[in-house]
């Protein structure tokens, strides 16, 4: 039993599609502490959204958990029945999605949809739920809440709809809020408002947030810790400062080098990561990033790298970290184990 709010260990999850088995999650381990903001950064195919959905038990057929454990608040999520999961969804763990237009039901009023969340998990009456809905709208910064309660999703702007999504997610004061690319579809000035709102609410309600995004700017501003995912694996994990100022994995380094920074005074050519994202139907053996890695070694093509601790808070999965150690070990005739024995 760890002291973490969320503890995922060695999760393996695949989708069994007509085209073949898509190994979406290939040994994912991460944890979230209470009231902490964890950022999960990755591109398409990295598995970042799937990780979050699996935490909510939303990866049904053709997806199947084929290994590992998922723990939330001490309870084993992966062993729960659908009925038990329903009690947790929307109640203790909530999620907000990228596109608020498709996540909100266009034929029900806003008030109706917020109240539904309340009614599902509490014993409140309809009137009480409506009252709570009004409270929540005010909480998320929507003015004229009585008027808004009666409106339909298409009558609101993108930013407003996202606020409504947040209101629905917070209806039962969850311990964990999962935000799956919540601002990707929004304008940047609206994004700033929403992110500020989320941080504000986090303080007020004391909840943890998992922020899933591909935008490094957003994680730099919002997150305490960051997990970088590539091709279904967490390739690096650490505090925000660790990741930005002491990146360990070649992928992380590549990402940081390839984004243009607004506050740069000179024009430096971007250094892109060559190649294309992995085809999850045919992932390569060995390190999934190998084909695109400038420092790829022969072993990288054969074997999946193991995790190396770079500090107490920071670890990364790359054979390069072992290289220096191994080079030292070559001088010692008995090999690595003996050298380590010598160190201990």
């Amino acid at each position: 039993m760890s002291g973490y709010l969320v503890d995922i260990k060695n999760e393996r999850l695949s989708f069994f599609t007509p085209a073949g088995e898509v190994k979406s999650l290939n040994d994912v381990s991460l944890h979230v502490k209470e009231k902490e903001v964890l950022g999960i950064v990755g591109e398409s195919g990295s598995g970042k959204s799937v990780t979050a959905y699996s935490l909510m038990g939303l990866t049904a057929y053709p997806g199947r958990l084929i290994g590992g454990t998922l723990e939330f608040d001490g309870k084993r999520i992966d062993q729960m029945t659908e009925k038990e999961m329903r009690k947790i969804r929307g109640n203790e763990i909530s999620i907000i999605f990228q596109d608020p237009m498709t996540s909100l039901n266009p034929v029900y009023t806003i008030g109706n949809q917020i109240a539904e969340a309340v009614l599902l998990h509490t014993d409140k009456t309809r009137a009480q739920a409506a009252e709570r809905a009004k409270e929540l709208l005010t909480l998320v910064g929507i003015n004229e809440p009585e008027k808004r309660l009666k409106q339909y999703p298409h009558e609101l702007s993108g930013g407003m709809r996202q606020r409504v999504m947040i209101a629905i997610a917070l209806a039962c004061e969850p311990k964990l809020l999962i935000a799956d690319e919540p601002t990707t579809a929004l304008d940047v000035t609206i994004q700033a408002q929403i992110l500020e709102l989320m941080m504000d609410l986090k303080e007020k309600l004391g909840m943890a947030i998992i922020m899933i995004t591909h935008d490094l700017g957003v994680v730099a501003n919002m997150c305490d810790r960051i997990a970088v995912m590539y091709a279904g694996k967490v390739v690096e994990s650490g505090t925000t400062d660790d990741i930005f100022y002491r990146p360990g994995h070649e992928y992380t380094k590549g990402l940081l080098r390839s984004i243009p920074k607004l506050n740069e005074k000179e024009h430096n050519r971007l250094i892109p990561i060559e190649g294309s994202p992995v085809d999850m139907l045919n992932p390569p053996a060995g390190c999934p990033f190998a084909p695109r890695c400038k420092s790829c070694m022969k072993i990288c093509l054969r074997e999946m790298p193991e995790y190396t601790d770079l500090s107490d808070t920071h670890y990364s999965a790359c054979w390069l970290h072992q290289k220096a150690e191994f080079a030292a070990a070559r001088k010692h005739p008995a090999g690595i184990d003996a050298q380590k024995a010598g160190q201990e």
Binding site: D187, T189, Y245, I273
Partner: protein, 325 residues
């Protein structure tokens, strides 16, 4: 009309009719409302703004993919607002945002890239066409193996390369880049941005680079124009605009962008704009930005601000520039 500009628009207006008007008063959306700018040969002009600002419409109207409601368009000094566009289509091309929607799913890469060659009769024989196509594909980093495949077999970044190859096939002088990297993964965006820059150097291209990501626009553009609800609110050198922007919208836009640097993030002063972007069906009177501007007053509601030169090459439209700066 300025001789030194390759492409120029003057007082461009693009209004779209919208359902719901009465017999007397047709309702319109003023997507682009009196926009003027010029682009010099070999230059990249960036156009930024948020949804509804009209930047994409401006790009497409410039190419007469929509017929402009008003104003004039010039190319190489000639007024092309009402002429037959076919000869100009060779010189003015476009790369689209969505690499999934902008390629015909039932055409091979060779046919997609070769279509322009066919339309403008640039090849003397089938073999010649084939060779031209392969040559263009090579320029964008694809090879003959890719030519016979269909677009759905490629990744987003590769499809975007096909789109770029298609634009390059006719050897254009000017390309409108309509959010060309927005739909791509972050690690691929840098590849494509670099390619745009290299092509510009090699082929002497002129770009109108439209995007909502100011970081990328600043990186690739010489000058940047900021649009809001169909109007240009500021236009200046990239560096000048980013660090010495004068218009309140420009400044809040810049401050809203999250910098990928935690230390800077902790110390940044955020100017957070209140409220949402007004509906383009019903834009505010006077200065369209006044509903979200902290400096707005009665004059802003009564009178639209004039476009004026603030310093050399730096233009903005606001009543209170002196007060703000």
């Amino acid at each position: 009309m300025d001789e030194k500009y390759l492409v120029e628009v003057q007082n461009l207006k693009q209004y779209f009719p919208v359902a719901g008007g009465t017999l007397w008063e047709k309702k319109v959306v003023k997507a682009v409302d009196d926009v003027s700018f010029g682009i010099r040969k070999g230059e990249t002009l960036g156009l930024v703004g948020e949804s509804g600002c009209g930047k994409t419409t401006t790009g497409r109207s410039l190419l007469r993919l929509y017929e402009p409601t008003g104003g004039r368009i010039f190319y190489g000094g000639e007024d092309i607002t009402h002429v037959k566009m076919l000869p100009y289509r060779r010189k003015m091309q476009i790369v689209f945002q969505d690499p999934y929607a902008s390629l015909d799913p039932r055409m091979t890469v060779e046919d997609i890239v070769g279509e322009a060659i066919d339309i403008h009769h640039l090849a003397s024989s089938k073999q010649d066409r084939h060779e031209q196509v392969l040559s263009v594909l090579q320029t964008v980093g694809l090879n003959s193996e890719h030519a016979n495949r269909y677009s759905h077999e490629f990744s987003g970044g590769q499809r975007q390369r096909v789109g770029i190859a298609r634009a390059l096939a006719v050897n254009p002088e000017f390309i409108v880049c309509d959010e060309p990297v927005s739909a791509l993964d972050v690690s691929i965006q840098a590849q494509v941005v670099n390619m745009f820059e290299e092509l510009q150097e090699q082929m002497g291209l002129t770009y109108l680079f439209i995007a909502h990501d100011l970081s990328i626009v600043k990186h690739i553009s010489n000058r940047i124009g900021v649009m809001y609800l169909g109007h240009l609110v500021e236009l200046a050198d990239s560096y000048e605009l980013t660090f010495h922007g004068v218009h309140p919208y420009t400044r809040s836009l810049i401050s809203a962008i999250p910098i990928a640097d935690p230390k800077t993030a902790r110390h940044s002063q955020r100017i957070v704009l209140e409220g949402d972007v007004p509906s383009p069906l019903n834009p505010p009177s006077g200065c369209t930005f006044r509903t979200r501007c902290q400096y707005a007053d009665d004059r802003c509601a009564a009178e639209a601000p004039k476009w004026r030169e603030v310093s050399r090459g730096h233009y903005a439209a606001c009543h209170h520039l002196e007060k703000i700066n």
